[in-house]
């Protein structure tokens, strides 16, 4: 069961990562990247690494996305 779930998570992660690269919209890419990070942090729990999971969720998914979106506002305000 866990194995199945892990496989599913991996597929979600890879599919979303490809989506990030291919989508032409920047904002969409940033939001989808947050999903990649969140799924990665769930994967860390699967690999028995709760410390890393918490750090990845708060820093990788939270703060990185926040900085990306704030920057996006600055670079897109003129067009």
């Amino acid at each position: 069961m866990m194995l199945l779930l892990a496989t599913f998570l991996s597929f979600v992660m890879i599919a979303t990562a490809i989506w990030v690269i291919l989508t032409p919209s920047l904002l969409k890419a940033i939001i989808i990247f947050a999903i990649v990070s969140l799924v990665a942090s769930v994967s860390f729990i699967f690999m028995q690494a709760p410390d890393v999971a918490i750090t990845e969720a708060s820093i990788g998914a939270g703060i990185t996305t926040a900085i990306f979106i704030l920057s996006y506002k600055r670079v897109s305000e003129k067009n």
Partner: protein, 123 residues
């Protein structure tokens, strides 16, 4: 297919996807997103290197857990990944600051824009 193999393969694929993005994209924000994907992939890869089938969390919770130290997953890669996540955040933050400045000085987010000053003089 075991759990660690799944994570080894998926993290390696993430690294490859990110590398493809870094190599082919022209938009700086896209390149930074690809770099972040590479970093996520590496973090997963390192933790997967330390994973062990049926391993336990390397935290002592009771007197019993001390007798099963050999069953725990390797804590060192986790410690390294903690460091590398923070370094990744630093890279991203600094690069985004530079990107905003780049947008102001170059008027575009294309990485191949000319860096010489003369170009702006005509605009």
């Amino acid at each position: 297919m075991t759990m660690s193999n799944i994570f080894l393969i998926s993290s390696t694929s993430l690294i490859f996807i990110g590398l493809f993005g870094v190599l082919t994209r022209k938009n700086i924000v896209k390149i930074l997103l690809s770099l972040n994907i590479i970093e996520t992939g590496i973090n997963l890869l390192l933790v997967a290197f330390g994973y062990k089938e049926g391993g336990k969390v390397p935290i002592l919770t009771s007197s019993d857990s001390i007798n099963h130290l050999g069953n725990m997953v390797d804590p060192v890669p986790q410690a390294l990944v903690l460091t590398s996540i923070v370094i990744g955040l630093g890279t991203t933050a600094f690069a985004l600051g530079l990107t905003i400045r780049y947008y102001k000085t170059h008027g575009t987010l294309n990485i191949e824009a000319n860096d010489e000053e003369e170009v702006t003089a005509h605009e």
